[in-house]
């Protein structure tokens, strides 16, 4: 009964504190990097006391890992929706490719990628979570799609649908993506990306047309 009373009494603002802390931590870690952010700064940014953070997270490392895994799951949801839209094979590949290539230069995605890459050696589960939630999922989906297209006689992949999918997706991790990762431009050049996707799709189809 004590537990029940507690739950009632605290359903309001208390339950939101962990989320506030995660969001504040995400902002600061993105701006300054894991090692450069202090728990004091996170407490200030979240509008809570430091002791409150330690009431919800064991230490800085656990807060970081917990927050990052949530962020990975949330970010990749958008692109995991990539399903075949109606149209001919070329149009479908172009649409999937454009969505993915543009996703890969979104500032939120780029910032997340930077943190994952930077801290993967110290947080092994993080690199794994990112890979499974994103690249692995989307590669599998595209490979299945290409396999269906081959079964319908629209492509000649020699059964290597997974490798073909990897080749296609790799071409979408293109120079604009790299330039975004390296913070070389103020904002990504979307027309250039569209042209690259067209080029990659054309090349893919020329190579794998029956």
């Amino acid at each position: 009964m004590e537990a029940a009373r507690k739950l009632e009494r605290t359903a309001g603002s208390r339950a939101m504190k962990p989320q506030q802390i995660r969001q504040a931590a995400l902002r600061l870690f993105q701006e300054q990097g894991y090692g450069a952010v202090s728990m004091d700064a996170i407490a200030r940014e979240a509008g809570v006391s430091k002791a409150t953070i330690y009431a919800h997270f064991a230490d800085k490392a656990e807060l970081f890992e917990d927050m990052m895994k949530s962020a990975c799951r949330e970010e990749w949801v958008a692109v995991s929706m990539l399903d075949a839209v109606p149209g001919d094979l070329g149009a479908e590949l172009r649409a999937i490719g454009k969505a993915y290539a543009e996703f890969l230069v979104e500032p939120r995605v780029v910032r997340l990628y930077r943190m994952v890459v930077a801290e993967s050696p110290r947080f092994p589960e993080l690199g794994r979570a990112f890979f499974e939630a994103g690249p692995r999922l989307i590669t599998g989906k595209l490979a299945a799609y290409l396999q269906r297209a081959e079964a319908q006689g629209k492509l000649a992949l020699g059964g290597a649908s997974n490798r073909a999918a990897q080749n296609f997706l790799a071409m979408l991790r293109c120079e604009p993506h790299l330039r975004a990762i390296l913070a070389l431009d103020k904002s990504p050049e979307m027309p250039e990306i569209a042209a690259i996707v067209d080029s990659a799709t054309d090349m893919f189809l020329r190579a794998y047309r029956p």
Copy 2:
């Protein structure tokens, strides 16, 4: 004359201190990330006092940036040597591709890439230096090579040699590269890389064969 005497007297170990410091800093920054490394730790690792570091570098940021630019130049030298080896077009592309794809999973290169990606937003010159010394240089070289091949009637690129080069190189930044970046494997799987390079080369040639 005082200057001359000083130079004589200090030609031995003193001139090497900056290099010792750079090397120690590289090791620690790679292991722990920029924000997590202290100047005390660098001094210990280099076997010098903290004051000696500050005698050669204005502060932590300048030490990091100076060291990183040196590291970028040194690392990319290996792959910038990539010149056409004798053989037919397919064999040459395969050789270039294999060298580049294997370079991209070397632990030293992966560690450097992680740091550049992590700190590019805070050190804009770093992302620029990395890009110019590596991807930009190699893309230009390959584009020129492909253009010569097209002039000889061995390829049909429609004049878009640069885009073709980018497509080919993007396929070499493949899943093993991504897995290495994310620290998913203990050691890179070279046979898998060779198979991917073969696949990418075949696809490239099927698409662009006259």
